[in-house]
Point group: C2
Chain length 323, copies 2
């Protein structure tokens, strides 16, 4: 495996946050870094303005001549050739937008783009918990559920949409998913769905329940974090709910392990910060649902790049050997 | 993609049959071919004797100097380095047997070995219904269920056990599988399980049912082929059974498509000869269980190499670029 070199300007266009960094690829050092809220009502142009301003500032601070390329992580589906955004579920104005071309014209640098799950997988694989293993399955559980796959030391894309882990079926004829089908993992185990299931149960919760106390008896205050906190405080209903969500994740992951037989699985995304819960409630399901002959084939780790995995992956996109 | 060249002596060590061929890799022509029953009570030595005799005969007929290498397809798990058999569920004496070394000493040629699902995937990919596509998911439904995966034009093995399609969970806390876990696809949709479910139902079948007539009222005469024939004749119980088996296959396949996003799926194995049934009963499940954005991403085809796919794949193993 070759050692990457040079500095890259990396951007993360997320639905809730924007981030920019200059990363030294060889050392993995983050030389400049800034994070901003994604402006909600200014569409794609609002995000572009912020990113371009951060990029200009970093290039001035660092010296533009040292920067080799730009890497983009985008929070939504992109075209197979990496030249177009398909859409964003969170911000208007991105449909069929040629983001690499626009940023290339602004900055005068070559630009490479990936969706956020693939970028995060690449970043975590090379600079984080993946430790440059041969075959990595990286999945992230945050508001939604996504995954990125590294096979034989390269990003694997299939026909452009590989790793749609959130759409594995966990309950046939179950809940309606935005993708059009029923019973997708995302409807049971993603951050938004855990919070939404807790809200749906709210009126049936005993008045002294931990979730009611944590949310001051107001259903609209329910968040995934508070559901997890209620779980920790012994709220029986929330324990059942969280257990079921984590078990669905385990079931889907066990199926992926049967197909890919990876040497490492890395869990990222906001939910993975609650390691205590994932370890307690996902591991028994994995033990049960992975065939004996595959147990011990892989290491399971948690993300270590603390929210910067997409930027790290974006930086690595300029290295031809890994994408 | 380079063009393979030269002639290979290819062997298929199956649980029920043994086969040998000389294959011209460039043209895909089968120059000599023979098939034998696997001797049941003579252990691994019985199979070896037959294969060595066929190989000797073919080398004499063809001229040994033209043969470049030997390729083996083995019906059971092999070690990751391809040098050892792990076990055979059907024939005794294969445990930890160094088959490539033994055949190399006998024939004086380099020997390459794969398990049968991987060999079949490789053969069907290059010489058959896979048409050298970029990413292929090949699965076979015969007595058992196996799969082989070609990614970016090469066989993908994971840590040595990739493609364990038969062990995806289709019914949690369902039937006990030989792998140690419950509810594996193989327990519902493999040939042996379809026949075994039909036998379990036999006493409850109406005396005029098609299956009872086809089996002359003797449960022990039930085979998968006769269950399928009863299905075709309108036997309501057998239609329910077959529909359920095919739907489980569809569900597992839909999950694989979400993860791998292949450009082609090829179905092989004995059961795939009943295309009418697979098309009628598996396609509706696939339509239902694949997210809208992945429909139309892949072509689904049936195997075209008519039982020789393992030999074709074995022949291709001597080409370094594909394994």
């Amino acid at each position: 495996m070759h050692t990457p070199h040079g500095k890259v300007l990396a951007f993360d266009f997320g639905g809730t946050k924007l981030a920019a960094a200059i990363i030294d690829k060889a050392s993995g050092e983050v030389l400049h870094y800034a994070k901003r809220q994604t402006p909600k009502n200014l569409g794609s142009q609002g995000s572009l303005d912020i990113i371009c301003a951060l990029g200009d500032e970093f290039l001035q601070k660092n010296g533009a001549e040292e920067i080799q390329a730009i890497g983009i992580s985008f929070g939504g589906p992109i075209s197979r050739d990496g030249q177009w955004i398909i859409t964003s579920q969170h911000v208007k104005g991105w449909d069929y937008f040629p983001l690499p071309q626009v940023l290339s014209e602004h900055f005068g640098l070559p630009v490479f783009m990936e969706n956020d799950a693939n970028a995060a997988a690449l970043g975590e694989w090379f600079y984080g918990a993946g430790e440059k293993c041969e075959n990595l399955f990286y999945f992230q559980v945050s508001t939604g559920i996504g995954a990125g796959i590294i096979l034989n030391g390269k990003l694997y894309r299939g026909m452009g949409m590989a790793g749609e882990f959130g759409h594995l079926t966990v309950e046939e004829d179950g809940m309606q998913c935005a993708c059009g089908k029923l019973g997708c993992l995302e409807s049971y185990s993603a951050g938004w769905s855990i919070a939404s299931h807790a809200k749906a149960l709210y009126n049936q919760l005993p008045s002294g329940s931990a979730l009611r106390q944590l949310t001051q008896n107001q259903a609209e205050m329910v968040t995934t974090e508070l559901v997890f906190e209620a779980y920790r405080q012994g709220d029986a209903q929330m324990q059942t709910l969280v257990r079921s969500a984590m078990h669905s994740l385990a079931r889907a992951l066990a199926d992926v392990v049967c197909i890919l037989d990876p040497d490492r699985v890395v869990i990222g995304g906001g939910i993975s910060k609650s390691k205590d819960i994932m370890q307690a409630e996902m591991m028994p399901g994995l033990e049960k649902l992975i065939p004996g002959f595959l147990r011990g084939h892989f290491d399971l780790r948690f993300s270590v790049l603390d929210g910067k995995e997409t930027l790290y992956g974006a930086a690595l996109l300029s290295e031809g050997g890994f994408r």
